[in-house]
């Protein structure tokens, strides 16, 4: 087998391990989903009850809820590894570091994808936004957003997981870096919902894709250092 295929298999094995742990325990998904739902409700209280105003703000509220819940989700995924020295075991595997990063990130992206889709549905219901008519660009936005948050989150969770103050430090480090993603995803969602009157949707999706690629490369290149002595 050639090296890229082996690395892909390693990544899939690590992602599968996370998926099994998640399906058995449901640590990350369920609690973060509820958190996102509560955030949406509170946004409703903060900006409502004018439904036109809420529908206007819906793209921003959607992505704020996803990003905030995403911080919790990636933290939980990495907390799994601190039990019983699992992170040290992971670091000792004689495999390329980027494969380990890809595996952990894949798990993070999967959780973010579920989260993003459910929150999108909830926004459609709660804020009376018609998501059915623009489902294809919305799906693309959620996928690209999930990849970005998963890629960045995996990386920053690895930076902070061994800190005492990780609950504060993870969002503090991660949220400013996610600012371009938030901006692009909100703009893409708003454009998709409005039927893309200015033809800007493609540009925002490209921005998201570029962000994803850059952050994946940065994460894959540096994750090894974090595993070894971060």
């Amino acid at each position: 087998m050639s090296a890229p295929i082996i690395e892909a298999r390693i990544a899939l094995a690590i992602a599968r391990k996370d998926a099994v742990a998640e399906l058995r325990g449901r640590h990350a998904t369920v609690s973060t989903l509820f958190f996102a739902a509560i955030v949406l409700l509170l946004f409703g209280f903060a900006l409502g009850p004018d439904s036109a105003r809420l529908a206007d703000a819906a793209p921003g509220l959607l992505w704020l809820a996803v990003v905030f819940a995403g911080v919790l989700a990636v933290n939980r995924l990495h907390l799994l590894e601190t039990d019983d020295g699992a992170l040290e075991q992971l670091a000792l595997y004689p495999v390329p570091r980027r494969a380990i990063y890809a595996g952990k990130a894949l798990g993070g992206v999967a959780v973010m994808l579920v989260l993003g889709l459910v929150v999108l549905g909830a926004v459609g219901v709660l804020f009376a936004v018609d998501i059915g008519s623009a489902w294809a660009p919305l799906l693309a936005t959620v996928v690209l957003g999930a990849i970005g948050i998963g890629a960045v989150g995996t990386f920053y969770a690895a930076v902070t997981v061994r800190l005492r103050a990780r609950e504060v430090m993870l969002p503090l480090l991660m949220l400013p870096v996610l600012a371009p993603l938030l901006l692009g995803a909100v703009k893409a969602t708003a454009a998709a919902l409005a039927g893309d009157p200015f033809g800007e949707l493609g540009a925002w999706l490209q921005l998201l894709a570029a962000f994803d690629v850059i952050m994946i490369v940065a994460g894959a290149a540096t994750y090894g250092y974090l595993l070894e002595d971060g």
């Binding site: 400013p176 600012a179 371009p180 974090l226």
Partner: protein, 237 residues
């Protein structure tokens, strides 16, 4: 000694350009005295970016060479960069209030980018404080510093797309440097202020680096003392 001379020269040039900027150069016809804020503002913004560039490069240097001196340079860059970023934002807000009518202008991409810059590097400094082991601290900081530096252009680019353009950069466009719309005295004052601030920056960087090296040495001594006391307690037993 050389550093002390540099510090003295830096102080004198900053004092001189302050006097020139406040008293010698005439006020701008449109913006009045508020325009004088521009001199330290532009200089601070330039040094903020320079500092964070130094931090990123020094971070890569640490990962590559495993030399803690690199990490001291990175720390100096981040700390001094945060200071100049704060100056730049503060100056921008003081200028924005009379000229734009508001302290904070969401439509200006550089203001919002700079605010995120501040958040990124304050996080960097906090992360450093929370890690005790020098090598671990250097690695974590280096990686966060590099990713932050990678993020800055994306932030800037996306914010620029996000809202229409405002005041475009003055120095960056080459035709305005060759044929400045502003009279020569404004340009000279700006360049003088930038030069004076950069000298100060160099002085501060050297001093902060020396301080970082000293505190590393002290950490090391404390660690050895601890080991010695544990060892002697064992021997005594």
């Amino acid at each position: 000694m050389k550093t002390r001379v540099l510090g003295l020269v830096a102080f004198l040039t900053v004092a001189t350009t302050t006097v020139i900027g406040l008293l010698v150069v005439p006020a701008d016809l449109n913006q009045g005295d508020a325009q004088r804020i521009m001199y330290p503002h532009v200089a601070s913004a330039w040094l903020a970016y320079l500092s964070f560039g130094v931090t990123a490069v020094a971070g890569i240097g640490w990962l590559w060479k495993r030399d803690l001196r690199m990490d001291s340079v990175a720390l100096a860059g981040a700390e001094i960069g945060v200071m100049f970023t704060f100056f730049a934002i503060w100056g921008g807000m003081m200028w924005g209030r009379p000229i734009w009518g508001v302290f904070w202008q969401w439509e200006d991409p550089r203001l919002t980018t700079t605010a995120l810059l501040l958040a990124l590097y304050v996080g960097y400094l906090l992360l450093r404080r929370l890690t005790d082991d020098p090598e671990r601290r250097a690695t974590r900081a280096a990686i966060v510093g590099v990713v932050a530096a990678v993020d800055i252009p994306i932030v800037h680019f996306s914010v620029e797309w996000w809202r229409g353009l405002h005041q475009t950069a003055t120095i960056a466009s080459p035709d305005r440097v060759l044929d400045p719309a502003a009279p020569g005295i404004f340009v000279l004052t700006l360049l003088g202020t930038v030069g004076a601030f950069t000298l100060t920056w160099g002085y501060l960087m050297i001093r902060r680096y020396q301080l970082a090296q000293l505190s590393l040495a002290r950490e090391e001594t404390a660690r050895l003392d601890l080991l010695m006391s544990v060892r002697s307690a064992e021997v005594a037993r």
